[in-house]
């Protein structure tokens, strides 16, 4: 489920005021799709309540349950 170079080019112009060549926009579209895909797939496997468990809470919590210092 990727995005197209055309979409990237339009977004760059409309949102950020940046002009991209067609080739550059296509390359960025490829990279965005690749980056976003790993989060999409991993996100679908996570639990609905996962957002309650932030990395910060886990780091600090680890010191209180014997997994930390």
């Amino acid at each position: 489920m990727g995005c197209s170079g055309e979409t990237i080019r339009a977004m760059a112009r409309e949102i950020y005021g940046i002009e991209l060549t067609e080739d550059r926009a296509a390359e960025i579209a490829r990279q965005v799709t690749e980056l976003a895909e790993s989060a999409r797939r991993a996100g679908r496997e996570s639990d609905f309540d996962d957002e309650l468990l932030s990395a910060r809470q886990t780091l600090i919590g680890a010191t209180q349950d014997g997994r930390g210092s």
Binding site: C3, I8, M11, A12, I15, Y16, G17, I18, L20, R24, I28, A29, Q31, V32, L35, A36, S38, A39, R40, A42, G43, S46, D47, D50, E51, L53, S54, A55, R56, Q57, T58, L59, I60, A62, T63, R67, G68, S69
Partner: protein, 470 residues
Amino acid sequence: MSVDIVEYTLCDLADAIRARRVSAVEVMEATLARIDRVQPLVNAFIDIDGDGALDAARRADAELSNGNEAPPLFGVPLAHKDLLYRKGRVSTCGSEIRRNVAAEVTATALERLDAAGAIEVGTLNMAEFAAGGTGHNEHFGDCLNPWNTDHIPGGSSSGSGAAVAARMVTGSLGSDTGGSVRIPAGLCGVVGIKPTDGRVSRYGVMPRSWATDTLGPMARTARDIARMMTAIAGFDSRDPQSSSEPVPDYEEELEQTLKGLRVGVATNYYNEDIDENVAKGMAASREVFRTLGAEVVEVSVPDPGLAMRLGQLILAAEAAALHGKWLAERPDDYQIAIRAPMEPGLFIPATRYIEALRLRGPLLCEFLEEVLGRVDLLHVPTGPASAPTLADSDPASPERAVRTMGLFPKFTRTISYLGLPAVSVPCGFAQNGLPVAFQLVGRPFTEARLLNAAHLYQRETGWHERMPDL
């Protein structure tokens, strides 16, 4: 008395000044002479404030002669990556865009080093906006590896690695978002620590990624790092990520026995893609830990590739948010190799960014249970090989640079995504004479244990006592 500063570690210098075996001015004069001689060879500094540093050293000696008690880094010359702000001073961040911008605040870490008595002698070279792993910099000149100046020092804290290895200063602060302290420490043969997220305040430091930025010291020995960490770690209300976990005296913990300590060796991912020099250094260092009484235990790590990709996504999105205005208004003031990887971050959907952030907690839990629940420390390479040449890693030839440098982040970025502490320690030299290194990764806030293990390893081996021929 003349001081041959290349013989001194940071703690040696500090202790000698406090004991009045040498004056702060003598140390500073020797430091400036060394910098003057070596800077043309490695280009580690962006700015050298010799007069200001000598004035500060004179004031330090006057204080000491008044009978005042000297704090732990009293009179020690240091220099840091040029992204730590000091009010009124320009912090270039290695960029053209910030070349003339004076800071409005002083970084908490600098305030704490000031309070510990350290003296800054200048600011150090770095990748533009901390966004490169090699040491190339078109704006201020490439920084070079002191062990062989045809090779890179690594980045993005390139000047920190090079200056400490070249013995221009005994210690330096760098920033580490995905490996930017550990990679140059490893490639330059010095020790560097990426602390647990929240352990060291980032207030007054140029941001690259709010979620994963950390600040850590680089020095020749774990003892030196311990002294700097004791000075800079601790809660700071001005950094929203700052932790109020108590700060130990890291130096006091260095001599703890390693008997019974479980050192983990990865049976997947981290043992792949390394060259024979790194493999040899890893095997030999495992034997040293066994000799020290540690139990070496094989452990499988859960798909670190996922954490690495998610970390990359967060970094791309946050860097793009930080640089969006300049990407639109001043694109030509960036090196192309720095600007190009930032641009995709402008288009990452918010939902994916949030998913990547949200998954940090669960993936960290999994890593703590499956890896750091079975071992006390994880022993992994800092990188796949010793330092590549400048030519092979030149970002101006992107395909070649990716082939050369593409594997380096795999060993460091996952740890950054998880927010865990890790220390890079030199463990020998490759056949080409360049250093190789391992990392020790620990549970949250176990920097004292990491430095303890690194210190005892260094006492057994002595790789850190070798000096580049400059």
